[in-house]
Every structure is written in C-alpha cells, then in structure tokens.
C-alpha cells in the first residue's frame, strides 16, 4: 500500500500510521518521521509559506514512494506533505515505512526524507515581521541523498 498526499490541511499522525497496518498480521514495524516548522525568528511572529508545483509534486512523491517499496520490499509506505502558510510548531511532513524487520523500515524512512528534500518541488519562504527570505537548499541534503545512489 502506497499513500501519497499533498494538502494544505494538517494531518492526524496516529490515524495515518494506523491505516498503514490496519488488519495486517505480517508487519513487524513501522518507522516514521514527522517534520515540524522550527522557530527561525525568535520574535514570536514568524511564519513560513510552502509553495509547490501541483502535479509534479505528486508525481515525484509517488516515484520516491515506489522506489522505496521496491528497494526495501516494504509492506506499506506513506508520504503526506503540506503546503501553504504554517507557524512554528506546525507539522510539515509525515513519512512512514512498514516492513517485516526494523532496519528496512528505518532505512526506507530515511531514504524517503532524503529524496523528498532534494527532489520534491517545494520551496520555503520564511517571514519574520517585515523580513522575508526564501530558504536556500543545503549541500548537506544533497550529500544525504547521494548516499542512496545505487
């Protein structure tokens, strides 16, 4: 089962993770990662806007999910990514991988995040008071993604 969603609304982490394994008896474990908006200002009025490329975003996330299923033989995979205006503490993204054994679940979940960070067409605009700037891509994310090259 592969679930990929791109949405403005928040998500219910527990319900999403439960749906991944409901009714199954063969899953040994589910690794998940929830990304949150970190406070980047400090003045208390910080906000972030996530822009994305509708259509291509879903295609890329689906390709990333399918790659993870194939490489780790996953029993289930989940990617939910939000867009729009978010506040510090808000959830941005949820990735999860269900597998018979824990290391496959962990590896697949790290892979989902590393590829998502470098391939999914999202851009973050940070605003604090009158200041605004587009977040720059990090070389460390490219390095993390390159680890998974075959």
């Amino acid at each position: 089962m592969a679930i990929v969603r791109v949405q403005a609304a928040d998500f219910d982490t527990g319900a999403e993770l439960d749906a991944l394994t409901r009714g199954r008896r063969d899953v040994g474990g589910v690794a998940s990662f929830t990304g949150l908006v970190r406070d980047f200002g400090g003045s208390g009025d910080a906000a972030m806007t996530l822009e994305h490329y509708p259509g291509m975003t879903e295609r890329e996330l689906e390709a990333i999910a399918a790659e993870a299923v194939q490489r780790w033989g996953l029993q289930g995979v989940l990617i939910i990514h939000r867009y729009g205006r978010l506040q510090p503490g808000d959830r941005i993204v949820l990735t999860a991988a269900a597998a018979a054994h824990r290391q496959a679940a962990f590896d697949a979940c790290m892979f989902l995040m590393d590829w998502l960070k470098t391939r999914a067409p999202f851009w973050k605009l940070e605003e604090t008071g009158d200041e605004r700037h587009w977040v720059e891509a990090k070389a460390s994310d490219d390095d993390a993604a390159a680890k998974w090259a075959k």
Binding site: M56, V93, K117, P121, L125
Partner: protein, 83 residues
C-alpha cells in the same frame, strides 16, 4: 510553450506563468534560458546564474541539453527546499 516559474524566480520575473512562442533557434533548455534572459530586466536578474536554476519539462527534471518542443510545459525554479 507554457512556462511556469516558482519561488524567487517567479518573484523576480514578476509572473507565475505565461505562454510563449520562442524563435526556431530555441531547441533545448539552455537556449530557452538564454532567450528568456533577453525579455527584460526581471528575467535577466532571475536567470543570471543558470547553474542555480532547476528545470522540469512536462513535470520531469531535465538538464540544459534536453530538447524542448512547442507543446511542452517547462518549469524553471530554484533548488527545492521541502520536507
């Protein structure tokens, strides 16, 4: 040809998308970017560093030498920063 811009590229160019008819000399991503640079100061600023631009043709990542056709949807944007 449909062009779409995102993030600071969109802001510098000043529009989110447009339909253009490039000259016959525009056959690939590289020549498209060179041609766009001449369309105004916003374009020149946005596209000053081609190595900082990522390109998708019909929603798939492509590099400079990739061919493009009149019916394509071409998106130009900065390196992605989601997650």
């Amino acid at each position: 040809m449909k062009l779409i811009y995102f993030a600071w590229l969109r802001e510098r160019i000043g529009i989110a998308e447009e339909t253009v008819t490039p000259p016959a000399s525009v056959t690939d991503v590289t020549s498209l970017i060179e041609w766009l640079k001449g369309r105004g100061p916003g374009y020149a600023l946005a596209l000053a560093k081609p190595e900082a631009i990522r390109v998708a043709v019909n929603q798939q990542y492509r590099k400079g030498p990739a061919p493009i056709a009149a019916s394509d949807e071409v998106a130009l944007f900065p390196p992605v920063t989601g997650g």
